[in-house]
Symmetry: C2
Subunit: 501 residues, 2 copies
């Protein structure tokens, strides 16, 4: 499955241009050569240049202006990045905070300006494309409404998922793909296949709140491995853990991890797959954000480096297409039969008409363009939020700078208590998630996760500015940076480019 | 919740007529008084008489002939009923037969004439009614496709289920109803709420194969309580078990149990609810077949007698509307909060557009008529099957006579091995389920379950006759009863009335 070829032509061109932008040769706002011109210069097809420009657009390094061409993008807000936690020695029993369930539960509280969701709201999804696909599927496959579905999922849908997985760098057998009730359902099935109650599971620190929930539900112990805000799980720390602890599985989000937004470098992904083989442990890979990352290489799954079936790939389209379909999928490698048995024993299948609607959606010609649009909208929103944080939060605040997704990790100045800030925000009907929710050991007291999903409104940036003010009051000092500038409060959709310094 | 009023007027009339039919005053084929006439005689409204006649029709005691009126039905085939097993002393670890998973799995094997399914096939369901409801729901509630659903289920759907539950004799608070991925999902959630691995759960013997599967999946032990072929679970035997064993829960199908088709008398239902309160154990009631029973009183759930919240009601519409929706529901009584917590922790919600389509379907004006049609079609098929068994199976065969549903329990003469019969049938591409699959302790070796669901074809009655022949060959004697008669092989849909002796 591993591919070690040289990068494709378009990527070589994109990387050259990236270098020129990074070192200032191509300055902010400068117009790039036309597609035709660059194609001639490099002696390649124009489509190759278009591909390279799309890559750079995705990476937010250039912007397209209709009927004018491509321009070097304004540099987004620069803020220091959060720190990496130190390793912990022991696994912990998980006891999930009820507060976390209230803040991070899937039902957004009414009448609150909430920063709890990392899932795009219906305003960012193409609701009508989804509706048409479902209606068509119900019409065509109506007899499936009145039959028990296959517990593994409809064969045509599994084939579509295998085709989709090529985009993750994986060549999977549809027979080994199982459709589930969502990504967390996939992950819970994987954990049940490879662990017994009391076993130790290693995960990123900070980690996804739902990972802690599922570990608690299955009576598993969490071993928190430090994660770097840009590069994710530290494999050196993991190696140490594997050498000293009875770890049964590692669960992680290699691409746009939740809450950090980190992306594990490809070389590390390969190393992780090799570590799993060597130590005979399972890697449970959550690929739910892979379509949201702006750097196409980062879509490549750890699973693509797996030669021994030790990587279990879990995924769904709840962050990119339609959370309301309640569908996910899993390829469980060497544990595929075991997983199938567990699913047969207890859960049964999903609605086949929805499975086939999903298959239709992910194989439609317009899907890639739809993902591109989604990423652009999400990126615009994120810049607006980072600007607001830069302007309104106390001096010394650090913020993650993820290449996509709808989550930011905010590290407040040392000594600040994010739970107290949460309490201050609550009477103002503003909901933020304190960092301790993302750890089984009470870490990250001075951190916040800011989610930009759910029902996002113009009020959100105002509310975030207010959170910053409250934080400043808590530190009894206002930020010394000048206020105002281009960031401030504006409609998120209008924010791309508006955050230029 | 308990109601102890006198029976309603229509029921008093129906019961009087039942008596007259049973004692021969009204003979087979005799015409009943017209609705108008009977209404005048009793001094009641004509609608009351119509209701009484519908009840008698449901009970297969009378038949309606278009433009002629109502007639006393031909008496269905009389066969001795199966015996009741003796109680077992100890709970057993469950280890489900892989053969069972192959035979009884939800995917029907290709190219086989299968008697493994107890679920109506698409020929018996109103596929277009379901399709229209789903399409309408997707159209109206498209925004729900792109939102995470509530894990408990959409509020409107839960309200519809509470209204539906009135027909089961229950007055439930929609806030305590949770929508699940199916009836077995409901049951698994209940078991997880009230047991720990290793605990003892009492169930009917013989029992539903999936009950054994779910116990195995949760590492629970099964204590088999004898069940009577007509009256179901023996409460005396259960009482003995509760007095001597650490039983945590009782799981049962009070109405049309699987595989016996037994219905627990109402007085026993009340007694069971009281026993649960007294012993502080959970009763997990599976009401999935309640709409298929021909005697309306038997639709009343054990839950309707529950005054202390010890009965957990599990249900779905997979046997009556559309198994492909993958929706069930549960009211977990005093364990409602615990159940909600478990569901939140792990599974999340179902597709809300499907939930609302279901809500639409069960509250439509035509739903009751649709259920009546389904019951009539199912009853016709069952009579044809019982006739075939009477004609072709060895002398000494006993068969259940359930008031509805698509399952028959066949007890072959003592000493016969149903597993060997299964093996003889297999090369002829006929699939029957041996009785041992319905026990955790290898009982019922001389029994078969005959399911009349799935893709039912004219070949099925021929194949069943062949199973009988093979069974006769096994006993080295042909049946001494004369062959032929009206039963024999005929299209199932034409069989109502054709089975007259």
């Amino acid at each position: 499955m591993a591919q070690t070829d040289a990068p494709p032509l378009y990527l070589q061109i994109a990387q050259q241009l990236t270098e020129l932008i990074r070192n200032g040769t191509l300055a902010r706002g400068e117009k790039l050569p036309s597609v035709r011109e660059l194609a001639r210069q490099h002696g390649v097809a124009q489509t190759t240049v278009v591909q390279a420009y799309h890559w750079l657009e995705d990476a937010r390094l250039i912007v397209a202006r209709p009927r004018s061409g491509f321009f070097v993008a304004a540099r987004p807000v620069q803020l220091p990045e959060p720190s990496t936690p130190r390793p912990l020695r022991r696994p912990r029993e998980v006891s999930v905070d009820w507060l976390g369930q209230r803040i991070l539960g899937r039902q957004q509280p009414e009448g609150m300006v909430s920063f709890s969701s990392g899932t795009p709201g219906p305003d960012l999804f193409d609701v009508d494309r989804v509706r048409r696909a479902v209606t068509r599927s119900v019409q065509r496959h109506r007899h499936l409404l009145c039959n028990y579905p296959s517990s593994a999922g409809h064969e045509d849908a599994r084939r579509a998922l295998a085709r989709y997985a090529v985009g993750l760098g994986c060549s999977l057998d549809p027979q080994n793909i199982m459709i589930t009730g969502g990504c967390m359902d996939s992950i819970a099935l994987c954990l049940r296949a490879v662990t017994q109650p009391g076993d130790v599971v290693a995960l990123e620190s900070p980690t996804h709140f739902s990972f802690l929930e599922v570990l608690q539900g299955l009576h598993l112990r969490a071993l928190e491995i430090p994660a770097h805000p840009r590069h994710g799980l530290s494999l050196d720390a993991l190696q140490l853990a594997l050498d000293t602890q009875p770890v049964k599985a590692v669960m992680l989000v290699p691409t746009l991890s939740n809450p950090l937004g980190s992306c594990m470098p490809l070389a590390e992904r390969k190393r992780l797959a090799q570590m799993a083989t060597r130590h005979d442990i399972a890697v449970i890979e959550d690929a739910i954000y892979n379509d949201l990352v702006e750097v196409p290489e980062m879509r490549r799954a750890v699973k693509s480096y797996d030669t021994s079936g030790h990587v279990m790939l879990c995924d769904s389209f709840s962050k990119t297409l339609a959370p309301g379909l309640r569908l996910g999928w899993v390829e469980a490698g060497r544990w595929s039969d075991k997983l199938r048995g567990i699913k047969d024993l207890q859960a049964g299948g999903q609605s086949a008409v929805l499975e086939l609607a999903l298959a239709d959606l992910i194989t439609q010609a317009g899907h890639a363009a739809s993902m591109r649009q989604l990423r652009a909208a999400v990126a615009a929103r994120m810049e607006a939020v980072r600007s607001t944080i830069a302007t309104h939060f106390p001096q010394g605040t650090r913020v993650s700078d993820p290449p996509g997704g709808l989550l930011l990790w905010v590290e407040l100045p040392r000594g600040m208590d994010a739970a107290a800030l949460h309490d201050l925000c609550l009477p103002e009907r503003i909901l933020v998630a304190p960092g301790t929710l993302f750890s089984a050991s009470g870490r990250f007291r001075n951190c916040l996760r800011i989610g930009m999903g759910g029902d996002w409104t113009p009020r959100h940036l105002q509310a975030l500015a207010r959170v910053g003010q409250l934080a400043c009051q808590m530190t009894s000092e206002m930020p010394s940076r000048p206020h105002g500038g281009a960031a401030t409060v504006s409609l998120p959709d209008a924010a791309l480019g508006a955050s230029a310094a």
